[in-house]
């Protein structure tokens, strides 16, 4: 039994943690700026190989796996590092790996090097990634509006869901360059991970995956993304727990540290408990993802639900423990609460994942 990360993976964590050490301050600098991300931090991350980790060696990557990405995702979540790692590495690159084909061979080496940033542009103002798209591809060109698109201002390419005549009743995935595509910034609930509306007009579209395969691919992508996002959530929850425990030890009221009172310490114990449950589920998801286990749909849903619970609880109750100072714009608690909301919603609401989980449980019982 070895249900933890290896020493090598833990040492990767240490490197990532050092790189992201003052990331919350860097994230704060971006809040009111026009820049989409911290370019210097991105180039350091790429230099460390974080963008190449899970890409195969023949496609210019390091040939490591999902476990390494999980470790980095947790550190991104903990530090709020203002780089498009989640959009480009954890989601769009994984989508391209899933779809495979010539486009993957063409773009993965450049994604591995960090010289190209990609994002996923599926939704059209409502629903989730798996909501059937209305936008159409005709004669190899895409017309449609995609919003909200994460890290759109940083990305050079987008993976887009759209219909064409070849897709029948279904839809497909395409890869599109973003140069020349009109962007309208969206003031998103998370002000660090910037979002925009993209207005594609006759944009050349390169199909990835086979015609009509969009829904199937998206289902698989959701399970993969659920595990990585769960690690981001876990890191965020751990950061809020650490900040809240520290504050409860330092802040004094009625002649004592507020953390000495049961009303406060029991809330922190519950926060710790949710984080521990989430960590177990995240590790299970990481294992299932890294071994392509048949348990992946179950493990991914469990990781997502447990980590959403942990991060949302830690962010909401962490502000309560901080009192008034935690409610101010200048306090990092607000950044984490906003991030917790983004991550809870971006892959679909809780009941959607409860349903996926119970379907997987019933399928497992039948098998």
């Amino acid at each position: 039994m070895n249900f933890e990360f290896s020493d090598e993976q833990e040492s990767l964590r240490d490197q990532a943690r050092r790189l992201f050490a003052n990331a919350p301050a860097k994230a704060r600098m971006l809040l009111e700026a026009d820049a989409g991300h911290d370019a210097e931090l991105w180039s350091h991350a790429a230099g460390m190989g974080l963008t190449a980790a899970a890409i195969a060696e023949r496609q210019g990557g390091l040939g490591l796996g999902a476990l390494e990405l999980c470790v980095v995702a947790e550190e991104i979540g903990r530090s709020l590092a203002p780089i498009p790692f989640s959009s480009s590495v954890l989601v769009a690159t994984e989508a391209l790996k899933l779809a495979g084909g010539a486009a993957a061979d063409e773009w993965l080496p450049r994604l591995a090097a960090g010289e190209v940033i990609a994002t996923l542009a599926f939704t059209e103002g409502s629903g989730v990634w798996s909501t059937a798209p209305r936008g159409r591809v005709r004669d190899g060109r895409f017309d449609g509006i995609k919003t909200p698109v994460a890290d759109a201002a940083s990305a050079q390419i987008a993976i887009v869901s759209a219909r064409s005549d070849e897709d029948g009743d279904g839809y497909g995935w395409w890869l599109l360059p973003l140069q020349g595509v009109a962007q309208m910034p969206v003031t998103a609930i998370d002000r660090i991970r910037k979002h925009a509306a993209l207005n594609f007009v006759g944009t050349p579209a390169q199909r990835i995956g086979s015609p009509g395969s969009g829904a199937t691919l998206t289902e698989r992508l959701l399970d993969i993304a659920a595990v990585y996002v769960a690690f981001e959530q876990l890191g965020g929850a751990e950061a809020m727990l650490a900040m809240s425990v520290d504050y409860a030890k330092r802040r004094r009221a009625f002649g004592n540290a507020i953390g000495a009172t049961q009303a406060v310490k029991h809330r922190l114990a519950d926060m710790y408990t949710k984080v521990q449950l989430a960590r177990g589920h995240c590790l299970y998801g990481a294992w299932a993802l890294s071994t392509a286990a048949p348990e992946l749909p179950l493990a991914a849903a469990g990781a997502r639900l447990a980590a959403s619970d942990a991060f949302c609880y830690a962010a909401e109750e962490g502000i309560e423990i901080h009192g008034g100072i935690g409610f101010t714009w200048e306090n990092d608690c607000t950044l984490y609460l906003r991030r917790s909301r983004l991550l809870a919603q971006m892959l679909g609401h809780r009941s959607r994942w409860s349903d996926r989980l119970v379907r997987a449980l019933i399928a497992g019982r039948a098998a």
Partner: protein, 403 residues
């Protein structure tokens, strides 16, 4: 990251599996009805003796005190494999989990060995006489007095929540020997024969309607000083040895209903608009919440097992196990009963329903026994998160001046 046993672990597991497959089925509890307490105890004695003969009792204990000198991981592997069978272990849970380790820690091997052997072989059952009507969470506030009389001690007081006292041959007993010092310092531990004159055991009927617990009245009970465990005034330290073994169980009891049983029950109940209740999104939400807790504890156990296999000790993090497990039993029981509506009113013996009700009735006890939810949260907050201790108004006062 992988879930495989190491070669040593795999070979131990294979050996355990083969032995259990041969011996456990003959010792199982009836499946179609509840066993009587007499049956439960008789089966437990036979099963304990069979395990002892094969070297599967006291796996982690030292050899010179009657143990097997094995590793914690071997013990975990045996428990995992044993849990596949409906065998009777409850009557010996306190004996093996708490009392015997205390006995062999504080007596010389020569004196401990015969007593350990009789427990290991299933002949003798032990109980733990700790809690009192006025001292539960604040165990160090016990009032049962022991006064020295020559080479004996004379004990007066009352104990409560003593599991299996009425079936026990011996007990370990925490008493106050000096009320003139702060509460933790004036305690001493003894063991006693439960047939000693002046020991009066009365059953307590609890919420589920059963009488597994007892109150034990001690009136002028005379114990020789040779039955003292540890030094006079060090009873608190000795009790911590005992209690450190109590909260090791992290996951739910094997016979407690979980998510699988809930899904089966919901699939058996018709839905409001065709199909079954399991199609209802609110039912799916509830199932998912219970799964996050129960599977989360199972995964936590795997992490604890990883620590054991690396030679590390699982920490006080294990406190979250009982905290989550007990409340989840209450919530899952309430949810199942709620969904049954009128069908859940009769205390039926329907085996799809009964376990949910049974553990719903037991859950309040589970949430209190071995540390209330509040004490466990204190442990997590103080020992794991390093938060300051609660305000303790009595901590510097001699016991006899505490109001």
């Amino acid at each position: 990251m992988d879930f495989k046993d190491s070669p040593d672990e795999a070979s131990y597991r294979a050996q355990v599996r083969a032995w259990l497959a041969e011996h456990a089925p003959g010792h199982e509890l009836p499946r179609d009805r509840d066993a009587s307490e007499d049956e439960l105890v008789a089966l437990a004695r036979r099963w304990q003796a069979a395990k002892a003969a094969a070297g599967y009792v006291g796996i982690t204990w030292r050899k010179d005190v009657g143990g097997q000198g094995g590793t914690p991981l071997q013990s975990v592997i045996f428990q995992q494999e044993e849990a596949r069978y409906r065998v009777s272990n409850v009557p010996f849970a306190v004996t093996m989990g708490m009392c015997v380790p205390t006995i062999y820690t504080y007596l010389t091997p020569e004196r401990a060995l015969p007593m350990v052997r009789r427990a290991v072989d299933g002949e003798q059952i032990w109980c733990q006489l700790f809690s009192e009507p006025a001292a539960g969470s604040d165990l160090a506030g016990i009032r049962t007095r022991a006064q020295r009389d020559g080479s004996d001690w004379v004990i007066n007081g009352q104990k409560v929540w003593t599991s299996y006292a009425h079936r026990s041959d011996y007990g370990i007993l925490l008493v106050r020997t000096d009320p003139g010092v702060v509460k933790h310092k004036g305690l001493t531990m003894f063991y006693l024969d439960m047939k000693t004159p002046g020991v009066d055991i009365r059953p307590i009927r609890t919420l589920p309607g059963e009488a597994e617990f007892n109150e034990v009245f001690l009136t002028d009970v005379r114990i020789p000083d040779s039955q003292r465990l540890g030094n006079v005034g060090e009873g608190w330290k000795v009790s911590l040895t005992t209690l450190s073994h109590e909260r090791m169980a992290i996951t739910k009891p094997a016979d407690a209903p979980g998510v699988d049983e809930l899904i089966a029950l919901m699939q058996a109940l018709p839905g409001e608009s065709g199909g079954t209740q399991v199609d209802d999104p609110s039912v799916r939400d509830a199932i998912a919440r219970f799964y996050v807790n129960d599977m989360g504890l199972e995964l936590l156990r795997m992490r604890a097992q990883t620590a054991l296999s690396k030679g590390q000790a699982p920490g006080p993090e294990a406190a979250i196990g009982k905290l989550v497990m007990a409340k989840t039993r209450q919530d899952i029981g309430a949810f199942a009963l709620d969904r049954l509506e009128q069908a859940g009113i009769a205390e039926t013996d329907d085996l799809r329903i009964k376990p949910f009700r049974y553990f719903y009735w037991w859950a309040p006890g589970l949430r209190i026994a071995g540390g209330t939810d509040e004490i466990l949260r204190n442990i997590i907050a103080e020992r794991v998160l390093g938060l300051p201790g609660d305000l303790r108004l009595d901590k510097d006062l001699p016991f006899n001046q505490i109001k």
